[in-house]
């Protein structure tokens, strides 16, 4: 029974709990057991709050017993990225500088999740302050990809992606600044959505690059992602960049799952040289599949997308160098070298030198460089102009097509350590996802099979216009349904079974 419970979708769990077929406490306990069994190997979680989770689940059961209305995610367990502040659980952002920090306030996203009845299991691992594409930049050690424990689960929301793929939780939250939801979702074989910027609140999300940071859902199915998207999103007066408009009808779109007559653009610039052949093979099949489902496929050129990655690695570090100035060792977090002889400035420098990891330091220095007088126009200023040109490429493209598609990542999951000390190689993992962060539009990643060359998951990225999030879900759900029919089972059924001792045999089923 326990294993069956953890393999249900979030939608199935919610209806089984609402119908009284299973209690929320049983569902939560099954997931806590799964975490106890496999997380020693996967290391998706930095902190598991069993007591708080079981109390929240009991509250759902009590509400149901009393005949009170239940929220849309009532009793559904969720893994929360450790970048969302939680008033009853530590929030570290994967950094030594915040080790053990207990925030005095709750993020809007987690508050909404609790109000929707979701049960927060704990906080998941991430690249330090969301800077990275592998979780290797976490001060607390990397998470591992459930498909192959020697490989990265992507990042920065790699802990949430690994937890969902390893059946430790049906849902996870992430944040996407340059691809940090879609890239880990793709390499873990699950669904990840970056909503339109401003569609979900940044209040209580520890800031990395404020003009880009976008909270969003990770799930095993497109419908589950939509349910979570709807529950966590919406206007928030506490975030001045929050969009004051209704959440796009993402759940209805996921249920519609139909591309008949839609115009779908294949982005010329996101493919070809530098892409893994196995990724391109599965992407090509997805294009054919969409055509067979009645979509009209059009090749579209976005000539400035090639400059999106360099522009991003100027804009994001510039914003981070400013945002991370708040970690000054004075009011909260780590303080080093305060021996009574050193000045505040010396203590601040020592603390930041000790408390931040290599990637965070590199980006702070890079951002400080890009914003320096004498360099500003050539670097930050130019990058902001590229941002305009990338946005115009999207505007032109969406004049011709309803959505754009590409591979979600240039390669499948790479090996732990392979790119750890080669920042430029690491940055390339976000090549396909960055354009939508710069332009702020919605973009979804759905699994589209295993790469024939290494047997690892490949993601299909579906990009939709600003506030056209529902379109991405509609296409993603159609692809998911057609592939499931072709394979006879969900992709994750092919993942090796995880046990406490290691990995069992590879999945018995095959999509080949």
């Amino acid at each position: 029974m326990t294993a069956e419970l953890t393999r249900m979708t979030a939608a199935e769990m919610a209806s089984a709990i609402a119908a009284g077929q299973v209690s929320a406490v049983e569902v939560t306990q099954a997931h806590l057991d799964a975490i106890a069994a496999v997380d020693g190997r996967v290391h998706a979680f930095l902190h598991v709050s069993a007591e708080i989770a079981l109390a929240a689940a009991s509250a759902v059961d009590a509400r149901r017993a009393a005949g009170q209305p239940l929220g849309p995610l009532a009793g559904v367990p969720i893994a929360v990225k450790d970048v969302f502040t939680t008033a009853d659980m530590p929030t570290t952002c994967g950094s030594r500088i915040l080790d053990g920090w207990q925030p005095p306030y709750e993020s809007t996203v987690t508050r909404r999740l609790r109000e929707a009845g979701a049960v927060i299991l704990g906080k998941t691992n991430m690249d330090e302050f969301a800077m990275g594409s592998s979780t290797e930049n976490s001060a607390f050690g990397p998470s591992r990809n459930p498909w192959d424990l020697t490989r990265v689960p992507g990042g920065s929301s790699g802990g949430s992606a690994a937890a969902v793929a390893a059946f430790e939780a049906p849902l996870g939250t992430g944040t996407d600044t340059g691809g940090s939801i879609r890239q880990p979702a793709a390499v873990c074989g699950i669904v990840g959505m970056k909503p339109t910027y401003g569609g979900s609140s940044r209040y209580g999300v520890v800031a990395f690059a404020s003009s880009l940071d976008t909270p969003g859902p990770l799930a095993r199915t497109v419908l589950d992602a939509a349910l979570l998207h709807e529950a966590m999103s919406g206007h928030d007066p506490c975030d001045s960049t929050s969009i004051d408009a209704p959440v796009p009808p993402v759940v209805a779109a996921a249920q519609q799952a139909d591309v008949e007559g839609m115009r779908i653009g294949v982005v010329t610039e996101l493919g070809g040289e530098g892409y893994q052949p196995g990724v391109l093979a599965r992407f090509g099949e997805a294009v054919e599949l969409l055509e067979s489902l009645g979509a009209k496929i059009i090749e579209v050129s976005c000539p400035h997308f090639g400059y999106a990655l360099p522009a991003y690695y100027l804009i994001a570090p510039s914003e981070c160098s400013s945002n991370l100035a708040r970690f000054d060792a004075m009011r909260y977090g780590l303080r080093c070298g305060d021996d009574g002889t050193r000045s505040a400035e010396e203590v601040m420098s020592l603390t930041r030198g000790e408390g931040f990891g290599a990637e965070v330091k590199r980006r702070i220095i890079l951002g400080t460089y890009a914003l320096s007088s004498g360099y500003y126009d050539a670097y930050y200023g130019k990058a902001q102009q590229v941002r305009t040109l990338v946005t115009r490429d999207f505007d032109t493209a969406f004049g011709q097509v309803d959505v754009l598609i590409s591979p979600s990542t240039p390669t499948t999951a790479f090996r732990i350590g392979e790119r750890a000390d080669d920042p430029m190689a690491m940055y390339l993992a976000d090549l396909c996802t960055i354009p939508s962060d710069l332009a702020g539009n919605a973009a979804l990643s759905v699994p589209c099979g295993l790469a024939p060359d290494d047997g690892l998951p490949v993601g299909l990225q579906i990009m939709a216009p600003v506030l056209g999030d529902d379109r991405a879900y509609r296409v993603g759900a159609a692809v998911e349904a057609a592939l499931r029919e072709r394979w006879g089972h969900p992709l994750l059924d092919e993942a090796p079974e995880l046990t406490a001792d290691g990995m069992g045999a590879a999945g018995a089923r095959s999509t080949k």
């Binding site: 207990q102 005095p104 306030y105 910027y197 401003g198 003009s211 007066p237 001045s240 400035h304 400059y307 360099p310 522009a311 690695y313 100027l314 100035a325 000054d328 060792a329 004075m330 009011r331 909260y332 977090g333 780590l334 305060d338 050193r342 000045s343 505040a344 400035e345 010396e346 203590v347 420098s349 020592l350 930041r352 030198g353 000790e354 290599a358 330091k361 590199r362 702070i364 220095i365 890079l366 400080t368 460089y369 320096s372 050539a378 670097y379 130019k382 990058a383 902001q384 102009q385 590229v386 305009t388 040109l389 946005t391 920042p423 430029m424 710069l438 332009a439 702020g440 539009n441 600003v466």
Partner: protein
């Protein structure tokens, strides 16, 4: 060479990051590669193109001027590295004293 070791040391001082000699050597070499790569943005002809600072148009946002309960001293000080007389205790900020 787009960036020197001395420049990295200067930027680290501006950023209040105490770096070791090894870190300085390592970062200087890596930042040279990164800056050469991101300098590609200069290839774009951007004459007359306005900069974008934010993905969505930003307008000033107002809220009703309603008093809400503040955090409270105990909660605000709960995570402080050092507390004295219900205040944050910080290292000296002046050189003399």
């Amino acid at each position: 060479m787009p960036i020197t070791r001395d420049e990295v040391a200067h930027l680290a001082r501006l950023s209040r990051l105490a770096l070791t000699d090894e870190e300085l050597d390592h970062f200087a070499a890596q930042l040279e590669v990164i800056i050469s790569a991101v300098a590609r943005v200069q290839e774009v002809t951007a004459e007359g193109i306005p900069p974008t600072s934010h993905a969505v148009p930003l307008t000033n946002v107002f809220r009703p001027d309603v008093v809400v309960p503040p955090l409270g001293a105990a909660a605000a000080l709960a995570a402080a590295p050092a507390v004295e007389e219900q205040r944050f205790r910080v290292p000296r900020i002046l050189t003399e004293g």
